[in-house]
Amino acid sequence: MELNDHFDTESLTMLKEVMEEEFGELIDLFVADGEDRLPKMRTALETKDAANLMGMAHSFKGASGNVCAAPLSALNMQVEEGIRGVPETSVDWPRLADLLKQVEDEFSAVKQVISQHL
């Protein structure tokens, strides 16, 4: 697995410089946050709690964007936008289920890349 398939490596280098010795801690924090968040997002999907799912996707989008995990951030944005502004009765739940599956898969890949490269 290649780092640059899942991260914007140029920005990542810059982030490493900024965070210095706290970089490792930041990555650990990000992983823990994701592991805590994903099961909650799945529960929200299953109970069709659209508002909650959107909020968590929004937050996850920001955090993954900030650690330069661009594809993961983009997937979260798709989840967020699949709910924002859409009337509750017209939410495309099967599509959201598909997107959440992709978020979970991407997060697994990110974790794997992290353990190998960072």
């Binding site: 900024v18 930041l26 900030n66 650690v67």
Partner: protein, 573 residues
């Protein structure tokens, strides 16, 4: 640059950690909050200088927090920057509405972040400087107002009302006019004649007001001693020239109204055209400034020549500074000469003119911002004031003051042309308490005697000239010509006083170098007139007041000498 204290609020700890780290590395002091509520609390506690807020947060979102923080900050400028993604275009307007100043996009770019923080910090500093300066200006302004009030109080003591409240004067002047540079003064001479001066100093505020003090003091002081417009205007000019800086001067018009003689002398320098309204004919005569303003020329170059007018009862002068011409309406047009002229010529009758002018200017200005520097005065010719009745009780019974004295005072041609001896003479007479209470009458007598000796005796002017308007002008032209050409001649004044403190007798003797006149013939003629038509008509060029006051008036020699005897206390009528 000192560390900037920055409050950041983001519920996502990854984001918060990165943002905090970047800001710290850039030398700032960072305070972290996990939601809007904590942000508001920490804002109270830590007084941060800049606030960065995530929009979506649990408990209290960024917009709510921004509203509360801005409210707490009040007048202080605390920049609030919202943290968003480029894609979060939704709700940006809401963010601004809640008081946000800018946005910062995720993921964070340290260079952009640093630039924003610094630019907002500079803006905040500028805002603080502005507020500090605004506060300073407010304090200065308050201080200035206090000073002006104090200065006005001093000025009001110097430039009291004078006789502005006299029946023949109407005027309009703003209470703080002195700080617009406008001055209006009026006072009576001991003889009953009235001096009125309307002045307009250059500039505004204290520099404009400062010259008004000596002006008022000279005006009142000299008027009380019996000086007329010529001497006062020269003295004021000389004083202002000495004390005012270059470029500061006083445009002025001064009128001396002589009610006994029904005449007026006017000096005008630098003021716009004023008018003389003739009540009888309804004619409006334009009076134009023919001198430079006061305080421009040194005493040597100053010209005190006057415009002379003979007047009828009800004739009136209309005087103003340029404020009335420059009054503006809401469209910015000036009131101007033409409108002023129209108002006056269209007035239903003379007594309405002043009121009509005031009304027209008010209507013209409408709701436009008033400059409040309109100064306007009207002074009318009326019957002479009643000679003050003299109560015996006013006379001090004590043997105070000089009783037995005499002097002789001779004026040669140079002095006669330049100098009025009456105030000095009056000053000596006023040392006698019994004479002091009849200063008005005394002045009238002396003025009449001096003017006869000088104008008819030394200068040889014919008093008959003054009986027609043209002759009146001619008279004053000749008078000036002859004064300019005068190289010999004299007026000799001799006075003698005796008394015991309870009563006294003043003998006044005038002698001039003129040819005199046939006084015996005149006396006979008068006796015949008296026998003919009685006492009433006996007032041609004569001076009924003199006979009323003097125990005796007698001509001597070839008619170039006259002696008047005045007894005090005067009998009450």
């Amino acid at each position: 640059m000192a560390a900037i204290r920055i409050l950041i609020a983001d519920d996502n700890q990854v984001d918060r950690k990165i943002l905090g780290r970047i800001l710290q590395k850039q030398g700032n002091e960072v305070i972290e909050a996990v939601n809007g509520e904590e942000a508001v609390r920490l804002f109270h506690e830590c007084k941060p200088e800049i606030v960065l807020l995530d929009v979506m947060m649990p408990v209290m979102d960024g917009k709510q927090a921004a509203l509360q923080i801005k409210q707490v900050a009040g007048e202080e400028m605390v920049p609030v920057i919202f943290l968003t993604s480029l894609t979060d275009a939704y709700g940006l307007a809401d963010c601004l509405e809640s008081g946000g100043d800018d946005f910062l996009n995720k993921p964070y770019n340290p260079v952009v972040l640093e630039a924003k923080v610094h630019s907002f910090y500079r803006m905040r500093e500028m805002h603080q400087t502005l507020q500090r300066q605004r506060d300073e200006i407010a304090i200065h302004n308050e201080h200035l107002m206090h000073e002006q009030e104090a200065a006005k109080a001093v000025f009001d003591n110097v430039a009291h009302q004078g006789c502005l409240s006299a029946d023949n004067i109407r005027y309009l002047v703003s209470p703080l006019a002195v700080f617009n540079g406008d001055v209006l003064l009026a006072a009576r001479q001991p003889s009953g004649a009235m001096n009125l001066l309307l002045g307009d100093f250059t500039g505004h505020g204290l520099p404009a007001a400062i010259g008004a003090m000596p002006l008022a003091e000279i005006f009142y002081g000299m008027t009380a001693k019996g000086f007329g417009v010529r001497d006062i205007i020269r003295e004021v000019n000389s004083k202002l020239k000495t004390i005012l800086p270059v470029g500061f001067f006083c445009c002025a018009v001064m009128v001396e109204m002589n009610f006994e003689r029904k005449s007026a002398s006017v000096w005008m320098g630098g003021v716009p055209d004023c008018y003389l309204f003739r009540k009888g004919s309804g004619e409006l005569e334009v009076m134009t400034s023919n001198h430079l303003p006061l305080g421009v020329l040194g005493d040597g170059k100053f010209v005190d020549s006057l415009q002379e007018f003979n007047l009828e009862i009800g004739d009136r002068f209309l005087l103003w500074s340029d404020g009335i011409l420059e009054a503006r309406n809401p469209a910015g047009d000036m009131f101007g000469n033409e409108r002023l002229h129209d108002v006056i010529t269209q007035a239903a009758d003379a007594d309405r003119i002043f009121h009509d002018i005031k009304h027209a200017v008010d209507a013209f200005q409408g709701r436009a911002e008033r400059d409040d520097d309109i100064t306007l005065a009207e002074i009318a010719m009326v019957e002479p004031p009643q000679v003050e009745a003299l109560a015996r009780s006013q006379i001090q019974a004590a043997k105070s003051g000089p009783m037995d004295w005499s002097f002789s005072y001779e004026l040669g041609p140079q002095s006669l042309g330049n100098f009025n001896p009456l105030p000095l003479v009056m000053h000596l007479l006023m040392e006698v308490p019994g004479l002091k209470s009849m200063s008005g009458q005394l002045y009238t007598v002396l003025a009449e005697m001096f003017s006869n000796a000088f104008e008819h005796g030394v200068l040889g002017l014919d008093s008959k000239l003054k009986s027609t308007p043209d002759g009146f002008m001619e008279y004053y032209q000749q008078r000036q010509q002859r004064i300019d050409a005068l190289d010999d001649g004299f007026v000799r004044i001799r006075m003698n006083h005796e008394g015991n403190g309870l009563e006294g007798r003043l003998t006044v003797h005038f002698e001039d170098s003129g040819a005199g006149f046939d006084h015996v013939a005149m006396l006979n003629r008068r006796k015949a007139e008296l026998a003919d038509v009685g006492d009433q008509q006996y007032s041609g060029r004569g001076i009924p007041l003199m006979n009323q006051i003097c125990e005796s008036v007698e001509y001597m020699g070839k008619g170039n000498q006259v002696r008047a005897v005045i007894h005090w206390p005067q009998e009450q009528e």
